[in-house]
Amino acid sequence: MNAYGRQLLTSLRFLFFTTILLGLAYPALVFGIGQLVAPAQANGSIITVSGQPAGSSLLAQPVTGPAYFYPRPSAVGWDPSTSSASNLGPSQRALAKAIAANRAVVARREDVPPASVPLDAVTASGSGLDPDISVAYAAQQEPRVAGATGLGNAKVRELVAASTSRGFNAFLGQPSVNTTTLNAALQQAMARP
């Protein structure tokens, strides 16, 4: 066998044995440590409502009806079996059109002037699965949700505060309200009045 053939065979064997180490042993080790030290996070941060798994606290869910807080627009319809941004460029007419259309929908739903709708409410997120909205958008949705759920303004405001990021992460990023944990909390509050 010539030098090239030998090198190719060596390469194949080297790749095979490093795959066992880096492709099998490594993820298995990380899996083991994950299950030991942080099983909730390692398994997808699943939240339960009345004992049933109802989603991941990290992912947005599609929402209909007045009794829920709406997440941001999504290029994938909040379907977690995929993920994507709209990938529309800042100068593309399609983006301005989408923003205007979203603005009209939100303004009608929340019964507010279109100009007062925050930008996060009308722009699609990077992942399409962003569960977070701005504090301003949450405040805009509060009256509607308070009315529809019958929980009252004070209770809803309290639940919004409980789902608002604070501290280090809010400083590094920006203060955000997690609509998924918030909607779960709303359901729980309605289940036991």
């Binding site: 490594y26 993820p27 920006q174």
Partner: protein
């Protein structure tokens, strides 16, 4: 989403502090790793099973041949593994991958590019992700490390044709450097919320009680090496914008730290290996200066756009907002990572242009794992050459004469990437059926094409996602550009290492241009910027600059 300047500055300071603390001890560890004569038991076993003689010191041609053989086998295995996905275990119901997408992906991961023309969720099971792609994340980064170590040996050694052993360098890079760091990184990521299991979790949604599956898989383990190896290929389509890959603003900052860690540490290794730490300090200074300047410009470009046009929101994640997105977008394009936590296609025009300019710099500040430092050392040779012309004597670099031979290799190196990026862009723009894959009209469509080929030629892997590259012509063209953009420069660098190793060291004299200190750092920074700016400025003017000016 407004820019929080204080938050931005704090995060940059935190990164600088953390990297500043670890780079010297870690650089010393890297230098020891690649100069030690001892083999770990695990490595000895690997050598025996693979038929490698770890004592062999290779001629640069043999080193290159081993590297090319290994990369060719890697590409072939990843390609065939995807074609056979339907009959292989752990495919989670996914069948064979389209051959054009499969070859693009195989080349992409073996060249440390991680351009993703496929939608992972709809295409790949965890078997391909974990056993093929994540393994290449380790090994392609270890190849980059090996090449820079070989180049440094070429500078250090004299009157020999031997530059080390590729297999030993590859194994040590993967086993002693990348693997332990990845375990630590993955565990930290799990604590922040990154998922690490063997599949999805079935749930019923809150509002509609509709059946859904929360995705899962060995994500944290892949995420850690994706950043550490400056690879950038996401487990999910949205990459580091996906909440299960990057759940919090802290995890985002940590991922930036991981992707900057090895590239910013290599100068310390270099300084120690050449026996003059000031050399490392000077190179590091240039890298840091570019990183700080580019990050600041990016933050400004994003922040200033928040109050104009379509504003800052589309393609951004709410939990991050402006500052973490600007920091990530800069770090990912200044290195060869290409992971994204914001949709680059939707960045403000000048911010998108900056991301391109970062790649066009040649990814040297700090650059990819290994490729950043060897790229900057090549530019350092250009700088001493220009310095030599100014004072009228044969330039020297660390006691090695830079004559016509090395200079030819350097010139070819400098030309390779721009030729690939600009030729690919021109060809695509010239053929209507190809340019139709970037549907945006006007300068933005041009930017999408320019970004794609710049990213492929520089082995970055991030994209202006609006372009569709999964069709055969573009998938094949980009694969070819990635392949040449990786291995032509590597071949030239190894040839350079061999040439330099063969020389006798000439002693420094009063007339020798010192390659350390502020004067040389300025010269090196200026040369790097000029080489990139002059080559790419016309293209940038047609794309992002035009888009930023047109209203």
């Amino acid at each position: 989403m407004e820019l929080n300047t204080f938050s931005f500055m704090t995060q940059m300071a935190m990164l600088a502090l953390a990297l500043g603390i670890v780079h010297q001890p870690f650089g010393a560890y890297l230098a020891r790793t690649f100069t030690s004569r001892r083999h770990l038991a695990l490595e000895r076993g690997l050598y025996r099973l693979s038929g490698v003689d770890p004592q062999a010191d290779q001629h640069w041609k043999v080193y290159l041949r081993s590297l090319l053989a290994f990369s060719a086998v890697s590409i072939l295995v990843v390609f065939l593994g995807q074609l056979l996905q339907g009959v292989l275990p752990l495919n989670q119901g996914h069948g064979a991958v389209d051959p054009w997408i499969a070859i693009n992906t195989a080349v992409s991961f073996a060249t440390n590019t991680n351009w993703q023309t496929y939608v992972p969720e709809a295409t790949l099971g965890l078997g391909v992700q974990m056993l093929l792609l994540a393994v290449q994340n380790f090994l392609s980064a270890a190849v980059g490390l090996a090449v820079v170590v070989a180049l440094v040996r070429g500078l250090v050694r004299s009157e020999t044709s031997r530059i080390g052993n590729f297999w030993v360098d590859l194994a040590r890079g993967a086993i002693r450097v990348l693997l332990p760091l990845s375990v630590v990184g993955a565990v930290v990521l799990i604590l922040t919320g990154v998922v690490q299991n063997w599949g999805g979790t079935d749930i019923h949604t809150l509002a509609a009680h509709a059946a859904q599956t929360v995705p899962g898989g060995p994500v944290a383990s892949q995420e850690a090496i994706k950043e550490l190896g400056t690879n950038g290929g996401g487990y999910f389509n949205a990459n580091s914008a996906h909440p299960l890959e990057n759940p919090t603003a802290f995890s985002s900052l940590f991922e930036v730290f991981l992707l900057l860690l090895i590239p910013f540490t290599l100068p310390a290794m270099y300084g120690r290996m050449v026996g003059d730490r000031r050399q490392g300090h000077t190179v590091l200074t240039v890298m840091v200066a570019f990183w700080l300047a580019s990050s600041t410009l990016m933050a400004w470009a994003v922040g200033a756009y928040a109050r104009t046009g379509t504003g800052v929101g589309e393609g951004f994640e709410q939990r991050f907002g402006a500052a973490p997105s600007a920091i990530f977008a800069t770090a990912t394009t200044l290195t060869s990572t290409g992971a994204v936590n914001v949709a680059h296609d939707s960045l403000p025009p000048l911010a998108g242009g900056l991301a391109m300019l970062n790649m066009m710099l040649g990814e040297i500040a700090p650059g990819g794992v290994g490729s950043g430092l060897y790229g900057l050392l090549v530019l350092a040779i250009v700088a001493v050459f220009i310095g030599g012309l100014m004072v009228g004597r044969t330039p020297e670099f660390l006691g090695k004469k830079i004559g016509a031979g090395p200079m030819k290799l350097v010139a070819f190196y400098i030309l390779t990437t721009p030729v690939l990026a600009l030729a690919g862009t021109s060809l695509t723009v010239a053929i209507p059926s190809l340019s139709a894959n970037a549907p945006a009209a006007g300068p933005h469509g041009f930017s999408e094409i320019l970004y794609a080929f710049t990213s492929a030629a520089n082995n970055n892997g991030s994209a202006f996602g609006g372009i569709t590259t999964s069709g055969p012509p573009l998938a094949a063209m980009l694969a070819l550009v990635m392949l040449l953009g990786r291995f032509v420069p590597i071949a030239l660098v190894l040839a350079l290492a061999g040439t330099l190793a063969g020389q006798r060291k000439v002693p420094d004299t009063a007339g020798t241009l010192a390659t350390h200190g502020p004067l040389f750092a300025t010269l090196l920074g200026g040369v790097s910027l000029l080489v990139a700016a002059l080559t790419y400025f016309p293209a940038l003017a047609l794309g992002p600059a035009a888009e930023g000016i047109l209203k």
